[in-house]
């Protein structure tokens, strides 16, 4: 579990799997996402950098995203890491969010939001703890006092309106993944 930092390092330009390399089109069905999108490193789930997901992403384990996600991400009790190659245009709800890539949308975390050097967030942050590294980009508001809004209560950011994507629930990180 403590290999998270390794998991978010750039994957030296290699796609997660050969199948993912061929899949550069947006994925619209959760069934199609699962075998291609996930690389398992112990119990860390990784969405590879060639993967595009439009819709809703729910999970109950830590997740690292190196690809593109548009829509909504909800990892209620877990850590979401946006890797250096990750590009997110979504409302994000998680316990903790670590940003090394780009996020365009509101971020709500019940514990912490950490924007690292090179990371970028355009959107409003609600979290009791926020860390912004000196080389990070941030534009938006930070509210550290408000209790993390429940998913669905937060106003969507104008800049992060998800396209009218199908309400695809890529029930992404599932417990079976962790078993591998």
């Amino acid at each position: 579990m403590w290999k998270r930092d390794e998991a978010v390092k750039p994957t030296s330009g290699q796609p997660a799997t050969p199948a993912a390399a061929a899949s550069t089109q947006p994925v619209s069905a959760p069934v199609a996402v699962q075998p291609e999108a996930r690389r398992i490193e112990r119990d860390i789930v990784n969405i590879g950098k060639s993967v595009v997901i439009k819709g809703e992403l729910n999970g109950s384990e830590d997740l690292t995203i190196e690809g593109h996600v548009e829509g909504r991400i909800e990892l209620k009790d877990h850590v979401l890491t946006i890797g250096p190659n990750g590009k997110i245009k979504a409302q994000v709800f998680a316990k903790a969010v670590i940003v090394l890539g780009e996020v365009n949308g509101n971020v709500t975390a019940s514990e912490k939001v950490d924007i690292r050097d090179g990371g970028s967030v355009d959107g409003d942050i609600i979290s009791p703890r926020v860390a912004i590294a000196e080389g990070a980009h941030f534009r938006g508001s930070v509210d550290m006092q408000r209790k993390g809004a429940q998913p669905g209560q937060q106003k969507p950011a104008a800049s992060a309106q998800p396209e009218k994507a199908p309400a695809t629930t890529a029930a992404a990180p599932q417990s079976q993944a962790a078993a591998h």
């Binding site: 950490d114 703890r129 926020v130 590294a133 000196e134 990070a136 534009r139 930070v142 006092q145």
Partner: protein, 227 residues
């Protein structure tokens, strides 16, 4: 190892990079404490920070003082206008730059931004800030009083809050030099109808100014309860 332990450890690691550097000089500030005092009437004040995002400032205002902070780094907008050679469009751009509702901001941190703006841009920005500020809201701004020297490096200053009485100045590369300093009278006119409530001229030739917007009763006729 619990997740909370991991975060605790990482917090300590990060604290070193985010916190004001211990070896960098701390510049005294007299107006920041007044700015903070000016926010005290509100339980959850909203601050607009026009400088670059600084992690320790976010923690200072967000965590320690309970503010909501909106970061709008205008130096990037200035740089973009310089790079694209469209500086003449900067005043119009600034007029439409802020999506916030009028009267929705309790405090504005301009830092030394106005030193880098020509007069039309400064006027345009000041008008918008006046619009955003709620009645009795406060605005902090620094103005250089010395002429810019030719040949100096193009850089802006990141102001890192050490405490209520001290700031660290961290330069970072910029595209526009400082403009000619504004005389005191021009500063006053620029922000009218805001009132200067505190003003300090520091030994560093920096003029620190705190403006306050008049309360509603003073700027508008009172409405009777029966109306």
């Amino acid at each position: 190892m619990a997740l909370s332990d991991l975060f605790s450890r990482r917090r300590k690691e990060h604290a070193e990079s985010e916190a004001p550097s211990s070896d960098a000089p701390v510049h005294p500030t007299k107006v920041l404490a007044r700015f903070i005092a000016g926010l005290s009437a509100r339980s959850h004040p909203v601050i607009l920070d026009l400088g670059p995002s600084v992690g320790s400032n976010v923690n200072f205002f967000g965590q320690d003082l309970g503010c909501k902070i909106i970061v709008e780094d205008l130096s990037k907008d200035i740089d973009r206008h310089v790079r694209e050679s469209i500086l003449e469009k900067l005043p119009a751009f600034l007029t439409n730059r802020f999506p916030q509702e009028p009267g929705s901001i309790d405090g504005i941190l301009c830092w030394d931004l106005f030193d880098y703006l020509d007069k039309p841009s400064a006027k345009s920005l000041a008008d918008q800030l006046i619009r955003l500020l709620r009645p009795e809201g406060v605005l902090l701004a620094f103005f250089s009083t010395s002429e810019p020297q030719a040949g100096t490096r193009l850089e802006y200053t990141r102001h890192v809050v050490v405490d209520r009485n001290g700031l660290q100045h961290r330069p970072y590369p910029g595209a526009r030099p400082k403009q000619r300093p504004l005389p005191n009278r021009d500063i006053q006119r620029l922000f009218e109808p805001l009132r200067i409530v505190e003003q300090f001229l520091l030994k560093t030739n920096l003029r620190e100014v705190l403006f306050r917007k008049a309360p509603v009763a003073a700027s508008a006729p009172a409405v009777s309860p029966s109306a």
